[in-house]
């Protein structure tokens, strides 16, 4: 596995560590962390800020029955059996894999163009459309511009565009107005996780004219 070269900016990691990052972005950051030891360590260090602030908090006395109530609930807990995902099935990072229907280890792909398949993921929020894209080997995608933010994390294989080559774990942010033409690597298909800002969030009054290339049917 190669070491990712493109990372989320530190502000995103701070929000991730503080728990204030949106669900869709958190999924993308989590997918990147799966591949990136460097950022994982950074998050571990960032967690210490929260830890310090917690330990320096002014203690607030709790209801005197709270402990008993917790113990009662603990006694009522079912036997500790954890339903774990079959490890062999984890082709993708856990937070991504868990978004598939449990029975369905491989996501359901739909053709988007001759070289791109897409599988939408349900994430319980509507700010971003979260999906997987699969670009076939050497597949060219149409040149397109972005009318909102788009986060992409490479999960398998690699692709390139005008500015760089992106491999497993790389985290890419495209902003409004960015234009590019991703191309799948020649040596195999490429699967990416992407979170695309929903059209409804667009601030531009002409946003609807720039029909996002990747737009799916809103959930």
């Amino acid at each position: 596995m190669s070491i990712p070269k493109h990372h989320p900016d530190p502000a995103m990691l701070v929000e991730f560590s503080a728990g204030t990052l949106g669900t869709a972005q958190s999924i993308c950051v989590a997918a990147h962390l799966h591949f990136c030891e460097h950022c994982r360590n950074e998050v571990l260090r960032l967690d210490q800020i929260g830890s310090q602030l917690l330990s320096q908090s002014e203690p607030e006395s709790v209801d005197s029955n709270l402990f008993d109530s917790v113990m009662r609930k603990i006694d009522e807990l079912p036997e500790e059996e954890e339903i774990k995902f079959e490890k062999e099935d984890l082709r993708f990072p856990l937070p991504v894999a868990k978004l598939f229907n449990k029975a369905e280890v491989v996501p359901e792909w739909k053709k988007m163009s001759s070289s791109v398949d897409v599988a939408q993921l349900v994430t319980g929020q509507s700010d971003y459309e979260v999906s997987l894209h699969k670009i076939c080997a050497g597949g060219k995608t149409p040149k397109h511009s972005h009318s909102g933010k788009e986060y992409t994390v490479v999960l398998e294989g690699s692709f390139s565009d005008e500015s760089s080559v992106y491999s497993e774990g790389d985290f890419i942010l495209r902003k409004e107005g960015d234009e590019h033409q991703p191309m799948g690597a020649q040596n195999g298909e490429c699967i990416c996780l992407s979170a695309l800002e929903s059209p409804i969030k667009l601030s531009s009054p002409f946003g609807f004219l720039m029909k996002p290339w990747l737009r799916l049917n809103p959930m």
């Binding site: 502000a11 991730f16 728990g19 800020i49 929020q125």
Partner: protein
Amino acid sequence: MLGTKITNFENKSKPSAKMGVLNSEKRSDQWSLLLVDVGLNRSRKSFAQLFAHFAPLLKSFAQASRHEGWFPGLSEDLVQEVMIKVWQKAAGYNPEKASATTWIYTVARNCRIDMLRRKSNTQHLPLENEDFWHEPDEETPVTLLRQKRSEAKVQASLAQLPPEQDEILRKVYLEGKSHAEASEELGLPLGTVKSRVRLALQKMQILVAPEFRDELL
């Protein structure tokens, strides 16, 4: 972090990593020892001590929250939920990776997000927040040493941050504000908020290679 393993990663971890250096540098603070005891022996006595120490801190943490949809009445619910999780997950606590306080902070953060999500979601998210922190199980011999050094550094320098940097970190970590929300609230440009955070992180030596990071901002 939570004691789960993914086999795909085992070939990546170094076989010698678990031995040696770590043994000479055990984590020995009171809370971490108690938490290990709860995990290993299901000790209720140790759990009661952890509860007595952490429940009031967690309540204070919960009351600091200014998340949309949060109200003070949820504070003890959060304390309760966190402490139950602590009991359930203690076996997965790895003292080499984090102090008990840091581990409990992450449990509290995740519980808080899950509670908020449960309240606000119309659609179901098949994830709990701790899934986002599911890490491949790999250990390097320097981890604990490095962690302890950085904990000490964070602790010492957090206390000495200029008030304007401290204020933003509190907003983000305790109140649960995004950078954008903090900038709006403080009437500061987003860039100023981000650069204050970055200065604070540099002081605490949290960003390992700032020169490498600079280009990303």
